[in-house]
Structure formats: structure tokens, C-alpha cells
């Protein structure tokens, strides 16, 4: 940042300034500094670059024009190193764009091209021949300096993970434009294309017709941290199960259907089941709910849903095997009117009325039922039943709460069931990625077979320890390696960890016969020796019927 910024106070342009912005965002953990850097950029950058910056930070990058295998080959060629050495370096650096930026020699004549020019070129690149693509990349890699080369490559390969949430960007944009944050959040949602819009149209102008597909920003709940009784009078609260699917908004407007996932992705095409809502649900309706798998007429597991998520085209066979339903829990728009400020209780009444009118055996619309209770103890009892219901716990919503924007404390809480845990033995370790690239932080854990003779791998985990614990374990791993398999090391079975996970199901793909969901380390059981770890049989006992 330093003095360059003061010299170019009036107009920021070019890749250099964008790279400088990303560098600043990436090099501080302080929110205020991030917001200040972004605000400065939004005040001073060229309009076209601003639109692209908003797009990139809200994960709207152009489709990937080159596959990463080719990029690896071309980069290693340019760096004059064998491909295996590039791959090893990538493994240690942990990020492809960063590796490419590091191994290629510094630029001789840095370029002055703008951000939007680069992006237009990247969009156009997709249709070019492989030889042209290679030439384009080689030329640009050589004309950018380290950090710009990193940013350029990131634009091609994937999203930026630099700790800038949409919310933080919106705050900066609001400071730069004096437009209210909630309005901006609304404007930036939906299916706009950065190359087809302008800063004026996207941010500054009022534009009615754009709003047809637009969802509302999701209201997100915090996890309850104290005792549930501290929420006060139980009569002021509503409770329902917390469903384990995809949080979505389903919009019916102008005889069209739009399905948005929480990542603000338009996923209408992936769920053709919902097409029948058009005509059944009145125009001008927005429902907030959870997409759940519903094989054989029952709520399935998240694993079932995963068979639907990744697919570009949905076959008839898959639709029959794993249909989905929408478990509805809120209405945000009714008869074309934004009703988010109405109390939850009122919105629920509208939802229940809507549901009664629409529902039939086949309609994939279900209601997320409210739980009846007299006191907190009864609520807690229901929470204990979560696994039976195939839910993750409970959602508690204040009856008089409006539907807010983003994650706000106070009105909505999630109260998850306690995770399942087992004690397992560390058996393999691998270097971490990104910020942990020079430590062994990705671990594989084993449980005893039923004869307690052999350790069988059952899960991988890489979170849950403190940095100090990771360092300590890393040092131990380096001294207690038995064998190396590329980046993976087998280690002497010695350390026992308590592993927690959210869900468990049978799996044919796993050697252990069991798949766990979101396994992580909760405690380093230095008090236990490996013979005190659990067995696979004990793990299988946790699978719900």
C-alpha cells in the first residue's frame, strides 16, 4: 500500500491495484482494515473494475477456461522444472495459483492492463484452441509480477479465500456509495453477469425488472452458547427440527420458478420436482426452507442428497431413486409483498395456510412442523429425538421476530444435538493445505477390528486442535514416521484422539463399512493408550436403525 496509494488517489486501475487490494485483504486479520481497503478501492477504482471486484468477491467468476492439469503442465514447462517437481511443490504450497506464481521467474516488462480487460480475455479464452490458451497463459504469466500473477491465476482457477465475506464487502460498498447495506445485499443477489452490467445498473440505479428472480438475503442463526433456559419465557418461542439438507429459497413470480441455495446460487434446474409449484403456488411467493432427499417416501441422509448436488443433468432414474422435497419453514414474500418485517408467528400462519391449499400426497412441499411444548425441559426432550427425526437438532425462533439479514444474534438460535464421539488412534498423517502447508495436520484415524488385533481406518480429520497442539504433533510425526507414501506418512500407533462427528451411516465404499459426516478432533486423549481406543463394532452400534 504505502506511498503508491497516495500518488494514485484519484483513479485506481489495472491489475496492479486489484492485486494490491487482494494483498491487503489477505495480509490482515483485522476487519476494520479490510473494510477500509475495500472502501478505498470502491471509491477510486474504475467502474468496470468495481463491478468485477464485486463479482469476484461474491464468487461469480467466469467459467474456468483451462483445466488445471494443463495449467500444471504449462507452468512447469515455463518454470523449466519437471512436472513431478511442480506437483511436489504444489503439494507443499497447497494452492495451485500460489505455486504457479512462485515457480515462474519474475516479469521483465510488467503489464498495465486493467482488471476488466483481463477478465474479458479470460472469458474469451474458453473458446480458443489449446495452443492459443497455452500461449496466452505463458505470455501473461511472464508479464506479471509475483502477486499479480497469483491473482491472475486465481481468477482462472477458482475462488479467492481471503476472509472477505459478502457481508464485509457490502459494508465497504455501503461506505463508498452511501447506500444502505440491506439494499445493497439485495441488489447483489441473483443471476447478474459482470460483463453485461455496469456499476450504475447493478449498484446505483433502481431497476424493477431485475428483481424478478431475486431472492432475499438469508437470515442465519447462531448456535446457542449458554443454557437454553437463558432465552427466557418459553411461551415467546417456537421450535422446530433443524433439517440437514440444503437451505433454499423457492420463488414463484410471473409464472416462473427460481430456486436459490444459501450460497446464493441459482439451482432451479437441479430440482425439476419443484416445477409443479408454478400454478399451484400463487405468483409473488417466496418460501424459505430446506431441500431434503426423500427416497422411498422417507427423509434420507445427507449422503443421499449428495447424489443430487453434484450433477449437472438429472436423469430420470436418479429422480426416481432420490427425489427431493422442500421442507418449508418461512414465507418472505406473499402476494407480491415483502413480509419479512411481520412477526414470525404471522408469517407462519400464512405458510400453514399456503401449505394446506397446495399440499397433496405427491406435491414435494412439506411443512417443517412446529413442536408443541410447555416448558424448556420438553424442548430439550425433543432435541434428544433429533437423530430419529433425521434432523441435526432444533431451531428456536422468537415468535415476534422479523426475518433479518445475515447472521444476527438474538431471535433465531440453532440448538444442535451433541455430536457422536469415539476414541481413535492416529495412523497416517499428511501435510496440510494453505495456511498449514508446512505442518502435518491432515490425519487419518483407525479403530480396532472386533478382535482388537488390527487398526482399521475409519475417518480423516484435520480440524479441532490448537495451533500449539498441531505443532507438537507435527514434530512427533516427523520423528515417528514408519513409511512414506508420497505426501502421506504412516506413523507409529501411539496417540489417541476423541473424534466427533455429526452423522453416521453404513457405506460400502469405506473399508470400515461406515461413513461419518464432518469428523473432527475434539480432544487429544493423552490420558489414554491405544488399547483403550474404540472398536469398529462399537462405532457401528451408533448407526441409527
Amino acid at each position: 500500500m504505502r506511498e503508491e496509494n497516495q500518488d494514485r488517489e484519484l483513479s485506481l486501475q489495472g491489475m496492479r491495484d486489484f492485486a494490491e487490494l487482494i494483498k491487503t485483504l489477505d495480509s490482515t486479520n483485522k476487519t476494520t482494515l479490510k473494510v477500509a481497503a475495500l472502501t478505498h478501492y470502491f471509491k477510486n477504482a474504475e467502474d468496470k473494475d468495481k463491478v468485477w471486484t464485486i463479482a469476484i468477491l461474491s464468487h461469480r467468476r467466469p467459467p474456468r477456461p483451462v483445466n488445471t492439469t494443463l495449467m500444471r503442465e504449462w507452468a512447469s514447462e515455463l518454470a523449466n522444472i519437471p512436472l513431478w517437481l511442480f506437483e511436489e511443490s504444489y503439494h507443499i504450497v497447497g494452492d495451485l495459483a500460489e505455486t504457479i506464481a512462485l515457480v515462474i521467474p519474475p516479469a521483465e516488462e510488467p503489464t498495465e492492463k486493467s482488471l476488466n480487460q483481463f477478465l474479458q480475455e479470460i472469458i474469451d479464452l474458453k473458446a480458443k484452441s489449446e495452443a492459443d490458451k497455452k500461449e496466452y497463459l505463458h505470455q501473461n504469466w511472464l508479464s506479471l509480477n509475483y502477486y499479480e500473477r497469483f491473482v491472475f491465476t486465481k481468477l482462472i482457477t477458482g475462488s479467492f479465500r481471503i476472509g472477505v465475506s459478502q457481508k464485509l464487502m457490502t459494508r465497504a460498498l455501503s461506505k463508498a456509495t452511501d447506500i444502505d447495506e440491506d439494499i445493497l445485499a439485495y441488489k447483489m443477489m441473483g443471476n447478474w453477469k459482470p460483463e453485461k452490467t455496469t456499476f450504475n445498473k447493478l449498484i446505483l440505479e433502481e431497476n424493477e425488472e431485475d428483481y424478478l428472480s431475486k431472492p432475499y438475503p438469508f437470515y442465519l442463526a447462531y448456535a446457542i452458547d449458554g443454557k437454553v433456559e437463558e432465552l427466557g419465557d418459553v411461551a415467546e418461542w417456537s421450535a422446530e427440527h433443524k433439517w440437514d439438507g440444503i437451505r433454499s429459497q423457492v420463488i414463484v413470480r410471473n409464472d416462473e420458478l427460481f430456486v436459490w441455495s444459501r450460497g446464493e446460487e441459482l439451482v432451479t434446474d437441479k430440482y425439476p420436482e419443484f416445477e409443479e409449484f408454478v400454478g399451484k403456488i400463487l405468483n409473488g411467493t417466496v418460501i424459505d426452507g430446506e431441500i431434503l432427499p426423500f427416497p422411498k417416501g422417507k427423509i434420507g441422509t445427507f449422503k443421499d442428497l449428495q447424489t443430487r448436488i453434484g450433477r449437472k443433468s438429472i436423469s430420470k432414474k436418479l429422480l426416481e431413486k432420490t427425489p427431493v422435497i422442500l421442507k418449508a419453514y418461512d414465507v418472505l414474500e406473499w402476494e407480491g409483498e415483502d413480509i419479512r418485517t411481520k412477526p414470525f408467528e404471522e408469517r407462519r400462519k400464512i405458510l400453514e395456510k399456503l401449505y394446506a391449499e397446495v399440499s397433496s400426497e405427491e406435491t414435494p412441499l412439506h411443512l417443517s412442523e412446529r413442536i408443541s411444548f410447555k416448558n424448556w425441559a420438553e424442548v430439550a426432550e425433543e432435541r434428544e429425538r433429533a437423530r430419529e427425526e433425521k434432523s441435526e437438532g432444533l431451531m428456536l425462533k422468537r415468535l415476534d421476530s422479523p426475518y433479518l439479514v445475515g447472521r444476527k444474534k438474538g431471535d433465531w438460535w440453532k440448538w444442535k444435538v451433541d455430536p457422536l464421539t469415539v476414541d481413535a488412534v492416529l495412523t497416517y498423517a499428511m501435510r496440510g493445505h494453505g495456511r498449514r502447508s508446512n505442518l502435518f495436520t491432515d490425519y487419518t484415524f483407525g479403530l480396532w477390528d472386533d478382535e482388537r488385533k488390527e487398526l482399521v481406518t475409519f475417518a480423516k480429520a484435520y480440524s479441532g486442535l490448537t495451533d500449539a497442539e498441531f505443532r507438537k504433533l507435527d514434530a512427533w510425526i516427523k520423528k515417528n514416521t514408519i513409511e512414506r507414501f508420497g505426501p502421506v506418512r504412516s506413523v507409529t500407533p501411539h496417540h489417541v484422539f476423541e473424534i466427533a462427528f455429526e452423522g453416521i451411516a453404513e457405506s460400502k465404499r469405506h473399508k470400515s463399512g461406515v461413513a461419518t459426516r464432518f469428523p473432527r478432533m475434539v480432544r487429544w486423549r493423552t490420558d489414554k493408550n491405544i488399547h483403550e481406543a474404540n472398536t469398529l463394532g462399537e462405532l457401528r452400534d451408533l448407526i441409527p436403525d
Partner: protein
């Protein structure tokens, strides 16, 4: 078959013909020491031999030991084996050890860098048959900028922090990196304050290299003295209560590991400067070439990867396990720092 001139055993790198160890990690009778970092000069040997400028350093670290100092290029013979020390450019007093016996020459680098940092006597390539090299940064991802550029960045950073009304706190290990920082910090910007562990070591090496005036931070140092000035501290002072006195402060680290974006974030440091006392990728390759060695043994760092690459380009290269830790090992133990808190 005759035993190799230098072999790797449980205690260190052993020369059987002379019954001497090089940088042993377990106590032995006679040890030749490359430099003063804790992973290379360990406690408990009966007799130490090292370059004379390293003598005060290891005495400071290890207390009363029996040690004899040698000159650069001075040959000393043990049981018919000829030994000599040659500059390694890593830190003040760091040497490579040349071992010659019956016409065969081996060189052990300890740690080294090929850039002249103006503090340590610059690295000199030594011709040999077998070269035992470190490869802490033996990956093509490591590429150092000339130090003048890095110091411009560091001084600009200090200047900016001063303008923002903050104290700059920069971390570097107390032997080597700290003195290199001291030497090139621009004292026209402000004053340099040092953590006790760094001041102690700097006092030891001041007679060997010119360095600007520094102020040791003690219990009596007033909080308001720091503003706009720079504090040089060992990495382990980060996150300790000691640093609270410097609020409002900004932190930076100067290390080869700062090449990785992730390394700085993992340590929760505001700014990372890539500044290393080891060779980068090209530096290693050039140095190896300059020795004319046909056989290369890689000790610590990315040994497997680096030796595989060397084999591919025609060297007879392999890896040996040691207990040297490279740039990690140079960071002080917590206890050394806590004494200062």
C-alpha cells in the same frame, strides 16, 4: 569395502578415521561445530572445535565448555585426517567443514547461503568429491529477492507504521536474523529497541560486526517510549504477555517461510518479509555445481524431493536423516524468552 569417510549414525555425522563428530546431536568426546544455532551446537560434548568467531557465541549459549577456535582455511590434522573450516555465509561465525583423507575430499555445509549479507563472512564454494548439503528451502517455490529490496520494504513498513502512530514489532531469531535486521534498519526513522534475548546475543557478536545502537527493553522501559519506533524480538515473543507493552503495535516476521501466504497467517502475523539465511532453490543448485562434487548427500529440509531432482540432473544424490531443523530450529525455545517476561 572401506567405510565412508563420513557416516551418519545415531549420534551425528561421524568420521571414523579421526574419531570425530561433526555437529553431533548426542554428546560425544570430540565435536567440530559449524555454527552456533541450537540444533547444530548442542550441549554435552567433551571438546568443541569451531571457528574462533563462533567461540564466544557457543560459550554464551552453552556456558563453560572446552573449545578451541580455528582460522578460515587453517588445516588441522586428527589421526591423519585433514580438517579445515570455510565460510558458510549463514550467520556470524558459520563454517563449512572440509574433510580430506587419502586424497578424498568431503565438505559438510551445516547451514549456508550464497548471498553476501554483509554480516557473516560470505560463503565460498569448496571443491570436493562428496558434498553434504542442507536443503531447508530445496523447492523451486523458494526464490529470494536481493536483500536490499527486502530492507527497503521493511524500512517503508516501519515508516508507515510510524506515520500511523504504531510501534513496529519485527520477529527474527536472536542469533543471525536479528543482527542482520539491526544492521540494515534505517535509524533515521526512529529508535531500535531489542528484546533481552536478542540484546544478549547481539552484545556477544558486536565486536565482530558493526551495528547501530539499540536499547534493551527491561521492566523499567516506559510504555510511551515505543511509539513510532521498532522492536526486534524473537519469534516466540509473539503472543506472550511481554509484547502487550507495545500496544498499539503491528507485527512482522522476517523468514524464508514467509514465502508462503499461509505461513504468515498461521502465525497470525500482520506482515511477512521473505528474508532467509539459507540458500533458495537456485542458490542450492549453483552452490552444488560450484563444488564440482559428483556425490551429494542432503541432510535437512525437503531432502527427498531435492535429492530426487539432483539424481535426475545427473548427480549421485541421496538423503540422510539428521536432527537438524533448518530455519525452525533457529527459533528460540520458549523458556529462553520467558526469562525476559
Amino acid at each position: 569395502m572401506k567405510p565412508p569417510l563420513l557416516a551418519f549414525n545415531k549420534k551425528g555425522i561421524y568420521c571414523e578415521a579421526a574419531d570425530v563428530y561433526l555437529d553431533p546431536w548426542k554428546p560425544v568426546d570430540k565435536a567440530i561445530i559449524t555454527h552456533g544455532h541450537a540444533d547444530h551446537s548442542r550441549w554435552g560434548n567433551k571438546k568443541y572445535i569451531t571457528h574462533h568467531s563462533n567461540v564466544p557465541i557457543i560459550k554464551h549459549r552453552l556456558g563453560e565448555i572446552e573449545v578451541s577456535g580455528k582460522e578460515w582455511n587453517e588445516t588441522f590434522t586428527i589421526n591423519g585426517v585433514k580438517f579445515s573450516l570455510h565460510p558458510a555465509g549463514h550467520i556470524i561465525g558459520s563454517s563449512q567443514i572440509r574433510v580430506e583423507y587419502k586424497g578424498e575430499v568431503w565438505v559438510f555445509t551445516g547451514d549456508y547461503k550464497d548471498e553476501n549479507d554483509g554480516v557473516a563472512v560470505p560463503y565460498e564454494p569448496v571443491k570436493c568429491n562428496t558434498f553434504i548439503t542442507e536443503c531447508t528451502f530445496g523447492l523451486p517455490a523458494f526464490k529470494w529477492q536481493p536483500q536490499a529490496e527486502v530492507f527497503t520494504e521493511i524500512n517503508n513498513w516501519w515508516q508507515q507504521n510510524k506515520e500511523d502512530g504504531r510501534t513496529s514489532v519485527i520477529f527474527g531469531y536472536s542469533l543471525g536474523k536479528a543482527q542482520r535486521l539491526l544492521k540494515y534498519l534505517d535509524t533515521s526513522i526512529g529508535e531500535i529497541y531489542t528484546h533481552g534475548a536478542i540484546e544478549n546475543m547481539t552484545e556477544v557478536v558486536r565486536p565482530l560486526s558493526e551495528m547501530p545502537e539499540t536499547t534493551r527493553i527491561t521492566r523499567d522501559t516506559k510504555k510511551d517510549e515505543f511509539k513510532g519506533n521498532i522492536v526486534v524480538a524473537p519469534p516466540s515473543a509473539h503472543g506472550s504477555p511481554w509484547i502487550k507493552k507495545m500496544v498499539p503495535y503491528v507485527t512482522a516476521s522476517a523468514s524464508g517461510w514467509m514465502t508462503f501466504r499461509g505461513a504468515r497467517r498461521r502465525r497470525a502475523i500482520d506482515r511477512g518479509f521473505v528474508l532467509s539465511d539459507h540458500c533458495d532453490w537456485q542458490g542450492l543448485l549453483k552452490s552444488i555445481k560450484a563444488t564440482g562434487a559428483e556425490r551429494v548427500i542432503c541432510t535437512h529440509g525437503y531432502t527427498d524431493i531435492f535429492s530426487r531432482y539432483l539424481r535426475e540432473i545427473g548427480y549421485d544424490a541421496r538423503t540422510e536423516e539428521t536432527q537438524y531443523e533448518g530455519e525452525m530450529g533457529e527459533e528460540e525455545s520458549k523458556s529462553e524468552v520467558e526469562k525476559e517476561n
